[in-house]
């Protein structure tokens, strides 16, 4: 069994309706990589085209559970990226997980929050690596990571009052 299939089956109990969204993914392969929000679930993506094996979309509430499963599976947190979908009024947070050697498997975990209420739970309790990455995302997007021990600016000046990667930021 390929590693991504093992990871997918470990993640699938978190998404009771995941099988339906998976069917959608296989029918319209174009929909896999479209930046539009889709229903929570796990979709297998073509590695040679996208660079990741699994694309997991989850609700912010499910984030801790997903990260917990990936921690048990031996993954490490590679990066956290924010994306501002200004027209849709949403912020997306992309977490990339990867394995340190052995099998190849990159898991992209995505979640969406309203721009007006950008709050997601912190992963610092599971992955210490999340500490700085979350501070950076807070710095650039104003995303509030609930429960973070020290959510302060990391790269911008401490007295900055702006979040420069928001699409409506004007210097």
């Amino acid at each position: 069994m390929e590693r991504y299939e093992k990871t997918r089956s470990a993640l699938s109990p978190l998404f009771p309706s995941g099988h339906e969204s998976e069917a959608v993914g296989t029918e319209e392969s174009e929909a896999d990589s479209s930046p539009q929000q889709r229903l929570p679930g796990v979709v297998v993506t073509e590695y040679s085209r996208t660079g990741s094996h699994l694309d997991v979309v989850c609700l912010p509430d499910q984030l801790m559970a997903v990260a917990g499963v990936l921690e048990d599976e031996g993954f490490f947190l590679e990066s956290i990226a924010g994306v501002d979908w200004l027209e849709q009024g949403q912020l997306e947070i992309i977490y990339d997980f990867n394995l340190l050697g052995g099998d190849q498997c990159r898991v992209m975990v995505r979640t969406f929050v309203d721009r007006s209420e950008p709050v997601v739970p912190t992963l610092t309790g599971i992955f210490p690596a999340a500490d700085w990455h979350e501070r950076e995302t807070f710095d650039f997007y104003g995303l509030h990571f609930q429960g973070h021990p020290d959510l302060t600016r990391i790269l911008l000046p401490e007295d900055a009052d702006y979040h420069p990667l928001l699409k409506d930021f004007m210097p």
Partner: protein, 372 residues
Amino acid sequence: MTVPISPRHDETFVLNLGPQHPATHGVLRVKLTMDGEYIVKAEPVLGYIHRMHEKMAEAGTFAQFMPNTARMDYLHALAFNHGWALVVEKAAGIEVPPRAEYIRVITVELNRIHSHLLWWAANLLDLGAFTPLLYAFDDREQVIDLLERVTGSRLTYSYMRFGGVLNDIDEDFIAGTRAFLVRLRERMPVFYHDLVTSNIIFIKRVKDIGIITPEMCRRYGVTGPVARGSGINYDVRKDEPYSVYPHFDFDVPVFHECDSMARYMVRVQEMEQSMRIIEQALDALPDGPIMAKVPKMLKPEAGYYYSAVETARGLLGHRLVCNGDKNPYKLKLRSPTFSNLSLFGEVTQGMLLADALAFLGSLDLVIPEIDR
């Protein structure tokens, strides 16, 4: 009048290291809470050379971002060129001619040797050894001259293009590179190993200093020579092969001691492996074009793309989000030392200040790459 001074362990003070400090090799600041000579708490303070490269990526076209890539990790700039070229080629579906990929690998590996040479020199300088710097810079100069020949720059290269490379390499470059390999292999045992690797003063400074366990590497997302010095056999060139690396026979040096000495040994041995790759690539260099036919204005399909390369410091990832427009909708740069440095606080707890500086050097930091 003399007052007897008794040591008090309940009294700490804050020591400010940097942002202008020779041992941080750039503008890194560390706020240290000290109990005498011992570190109670160390907090790296970042951002002194933050330039918001990710915003610049969104503001320009894909090609316009290429010069920026070299200005993050200025010591292994070609790997950053390579990573950016690979992710855009993946998004836009561009096939690169084999000759171009071979040239990319040759130049990237030369650049890796250069980066390790400079790290070697600077790390020893931190430890108080001045002479090795002169030898390493002598060798490094040869690499820079070679790369200047083909790329036109000495440090901040903007050599790669989507679909290939800017200039072809010529006979002089090939002969010069072969001569350099012979020269470095001759000098390596004497100037590097006899003088430093087996030097008792050096060994005493780095052995058993800065222990990073394999589990810690995973929790903090540590990659590159730091992880390989902790017994983790992970190299993107082997584990997530890209470019033409699968064509070459090379080893991944792994050491299990988890200390600064292990990280030193990994880097020194990696230079030899890079030399092996360059040799094989020069021997098997295919003929043909160095550029694919690529449209002037790229508009990759909307979607999420990721590409990882192994720089001299570890895994460099590009997370690219496209919306079908002519500029990147979002680019996240996952730089290796940002993650590698994040464990500094945990490792240095209870460490002597002098040891912490020896440890900091063994992490091989390039600050603009952390701050981006």
